[in-house]
């Protein structure tokens, strides 16, 4: 038995003293290998009587297990040491820049359109579209705009040369022709929103020859001015993200609505900036009204049965207001500096589009 004690002590102190993985391997072979001390001891057991064999065998097995574990622990220690040493050699200068990637942006017009369509979509308005190149009927006549109306003049409306039949197409001056196209093909009830490019022959600080509008149209049997107010108040609250937006409905005039209204939003003008939602000033943001009976009739809808409202708003205008963009003309210049500054991150999807509350 004294044999075992000294063998164990000797083995463990050797394991403790070994300097590296190679030494450890040599030690493992010398103790646990085929000709190792413990293996030899195992072999010698056969010569003993059964009782002694059992006792010594158990002791030897315990020693073998203990030595194996000690070697494994020591191996892990040397491996960790080696890894740590290696990693310390592998330093990066982490202040160096990572590989370049481009940063994209969404144009404020698209972002604002997404928001508008989202809000009106939640109110049950479906998107409708129409062509940019329109005929006189859809852009003017059906909308109760008489031939001598100033809006039809060459200095206001873009015209194409007359075709073989002498008819001149125009670039639509508003998104209202989509109303006409929808009413011509759809039986009420109708609830649509029509976004798109519109064109007027105008170019100065506050006008560009192309701009964007959205047009809303709701036709049924019962909708009246009170609903129009409700719809637009809800819209303004959602769009400007304000619980209470002061709105003013003012009698106005459009050939295609009667009664007609313009909607002003309460705002504050300070140092050339406009803040929406309170203050002493009013700013016109959209035009609306009950669809003119003649317009309904022009589209084959009986004005004695059906009625409803329409509204139109300038997308650039509300985008400028909401996001504090000072100059209309910059929208269309494709200046990278402007787009980086006023543009939106690619995944900045309007909140409600992700299922959140408006």
């Amino acid at each position: 038995m004294t044999d075992f004690k000294s063998l164990r002590a000797e083995l463990l102190s050797e394991i403790e003293a070994v300097k590296d993985l190679d030494g450890l391997e040599r030690l493992r072979v010398a103790s646990l290998g085929k000709k190792g001390k413990i293996t030899e001891g195992m072999k010698a057991l056969g010569k003993l009587d059964p009782e002694e064999r059992r006792a010594q065998g158990a002791a030897l097995n315990a020693l073998k297990e203990e030595a194996t574990q000690a070697i494994a622990a020591r191996t892990r220690f040397f491996k960790d040491l080696a890894l740590n040493a290696r990693l310390l050699e592998e330093r990066f200068d982490m202040t160096l820049p990572s590989r370049p990637e481009r940063e994209g942006r969404i144009h404020p017009i698209s972002q604002t359109m997404d928001e508008l369509l989202q809000i009106f979509g939640a109110m049950g308005f479906a998107v409708a579209e129409g062509p940019d190149v329109e005929d006189d009927f859809h852009n003017f006549a059906a909308l109760n705009i008489p031939p001598e109306h100033p809006a039809r003049q060459m200095h206001d409306t873009f015209y194409f040369p007359p075709d073989a039949k002498g008819e001149r197409k125009v670039l639509r001056t508003h998104t209202s022709p989509v109303q006409i196209r929808t009413m011509q093909t759809t039986k009420p009830p109708i609830r649509i929103i029509a976004p798109g490019r519109t064109y007027r022959r105008d170019s100065d600080i506050t006008h560009t020859p192309m701009f964007h509008q959205i047009e809303g149209l709701l036709i049924d049997r019962k909708t009246h001015m009170g609903h129009l107010k409700g719809c637009l108040i809800d819209f303004c609250r959602a769009f400007f993200e304000l619980d209470d937006v002061p709105l003013r409905f003012r009698p106005s005039f459009f050939p295609f609505t009667e009664p007609s209204a313009e909607v002003d939003i309460g705002c504050e003008r300070r140092k050339g900036e406009i803040r929406v939602g309170g203050g002493a000033d009013w700013l016109e943001i959209l035009g609306c009204g009950m669809v003119h009976p003649k317009v309904l009739a022009n589209c084959g809808i009986d004005p004695d049965i059906y009625q409803g409202f329409a509204f139109g708003l300038g997308v650039e205008r509300v985008a400028m207001l909401k996001y504090g963009i000072p100059d209309l003309r910059t929208f269309f210049e494709a200046d990278l500096r402007w787009m980086h500054h006023y543009g939106f991150l690619p995944l900045d999807v309007p909140r409600s589009a992700q299922g959140g509350a408006l």
């Binding site: 479906a126 009246h224 494709a334 980086h340």
Partner: protein
Amino acid sequence: MKFTLGWLKAHLETDADLATIADTLTALGLETEEISNPAETLQGFRVAEILSAEKHPDADRLQVCRVATGEKEVTIVCGAPNARAGLKGVLASPGTVIPASGEVLREGKIRGVTSEGMLCSTAELALGEDHDGIIELPTDARVGDDAAAALGLDDPVLHLGLTPNRGDCLGVRGIARDLAAAGLGKLKPWQETPIPGTFQSPLGVTFDFPKDAHDACPHFVGRYIRGLKNGPSPDWLQRRLLAIGLRPISALVDVTNLMTIELGRPMHVFDADLVKGGLTVRLAREDESLRGLDGKDHALDPEMCVIADANAPLSLAGIVGGVATGCTDETVNVFVESAIFDPVRTAMTGRKLNVETDARHRFERGVDPAMVAPGMEMATRLLLEFCGGEPSECVVAGAEARREQTVPFRPSRVASLGGVELPEKETLAILKRLGFEDEEKGGTHRMCVPSWRHDIEGEADLVEEALRVHGYDNIPVCPLAPAPTDRADAPPTNGARVGFIRRSLAARGMIEAVTWSFLSSHEAAAFGGSDALCLDNPISAELDRLRPSILPNIILAAGRNAARGMADLALFEIGPQYAGLDAADQALMASGIRAGQTGPRHWQTPARSVDAFDAKADARAGLAAAGVAVAGLETVAEGPAWYHPGRVGTLRYGPKNVLATFGEIHPGVLAHLDVAGPIVGFELFLDHLPAPKTEGRKQRPALDASPFQAVERDFAFVVKESVAAGDLLRAVKKAAGQMVAEVQVFDVYQGKGIAPGHKSLAISVRLQPREKTLTDDEIAAVAEKIVSAVKKATGAELRQ
């Protein structure tokens, strides 16, 4: 429409304060755009009198004036033609801020003479547009007094923005009538007692219109007044005109301006002694012309209505009088005109000749036809009062052109259309106050439209009348009902998928631009498109036609950004392009470019120029974002001529189903646009996207993940240079059939070891068994099949 509070109160008896009046006007649809009180901006300006005016020694057009300020005498150099001794004007002393320019006036030397101040015009005081001369104050103005008071400008001025349907409010009385209807006071009675004529007018009036033009002037009343004396109008009238920015000229002219502003009833006064023979109201003849009181010569055409004498047109009907018969200080006999002219013809003529006058503004919106004779009586009264003289009997052509119009009206429509439960009595009372007479019969109402309201045509108009007087603010807000489920919507649009494309391109580092739908014909030339796209009236030569492609616009934008030092960029736009003028010719596109280097120089990654494969990646990513199964698309080496002919590709399902084109922009096209390359681009045809699966199951089929080990094998084929990699890959896929999970080209090599005119394509093939693990023999068999199929399809040999 500008008027003063005092002027309004001449017609409206009210205790309401200015703010209430302004708010009520806006609530009525007569929007108060501005209230100004000139007295505030005119502090420091004083009444001064010119004592003497001598020609400037060194300047023909200048005079040196001695001016009394009330405190002292000063010298002032003045260029106004009307500066003369005895004139009382408005003096700005050094240190005063000039309202028009916002600058502080300083003493200065003008051609060697020191000027100690300035005598002001209405323009300089920002009271009007008139630069022709300095203000002439009434003679009773006291030297040294505040100019504002002397000008009658201590009366606030309201500026209304009127909608074109409210011609009746282009006169102060019409505005007063609306305010009274809204309960803000009482309209003061006004009636002219006809003044009997004492002789027959020596000038007659006849109409001479072709059959289809009788409406050009349906009613004309004229009157001769003899023996009057023209001169300055009374101070109260001058002050009113000055306050709203009109320069008093003479009693004869000022009376017509008063009629225009007060009643919305423009008049004209001819110097009768300069009229040859009787007056004829007729259409102008070809080659006739008229020098107007605006100082311009107007070439007339037979669409225009004129008032002519035996020789020539004297006045452009309803727009502007002629110089030849204009009144002067010497005028003693006049012929006064009060008439109605056709709004449309007046508007067309005014537009053609580009003449904007207060008269035109009113006639084209409709003047009250019932006011022709009363207007004449009022003007006569004022002219006799100011200038004396003797009036003739009136001469009349045509007759009152009032349209007798009644509109059936159900008062219940105020609730069902307007949303306000207004008692019927109240509705009818509002309409009555506005001048509508109710011709009720057995409970059915027919409203007779007053002569001044040309804009009322139907029941909806009457609902608006009731609503606006009651107040739009008082319409109760109703929530919108949920959308009905039985509606037939417009066909579904591409909206959502277009949004995915937009945001995926942006996520790839591209910046979204929105550019004009226009471009110049020069720029368009390289991108096809028909000449039918040219506008008849473009805004400029740079934007003279619709764009046949989005690419030129964003390429030009890249050029502009490069000029600012940002040559490396990635831009895209989603929008329309046009092949013609029909609706079907408009295509929705997502088009993008990358220019210059792929990124900034970097310590780790060498910079490289953009190439066609960047554009291909963008195109595929955009399509993939829209849900297109891009793996099934074929790429063919063809595309539009604005791409490099050797570096262009088309992504398609078949020859008639093209989803995208991409490639390097042709260097010749870039040179044509004067933009430096390289630039690569793509164009996605969003109208060609396969229809999304909108209906049916949202559930996915069960995942089919094979439990058997996949095997990867590499091959290197040597093929002729002209062989397309795509053809080789197709052969591989066909040969290996169902078992192919993936095929990749991982190397393309030409050079040492490869025969000239040939290339080596290294591909890896991943085989995924479905039923059991593949044995070596089975793998070898598939490999052999692949090699022989590729050889057959492309003539390839395995690289040794």
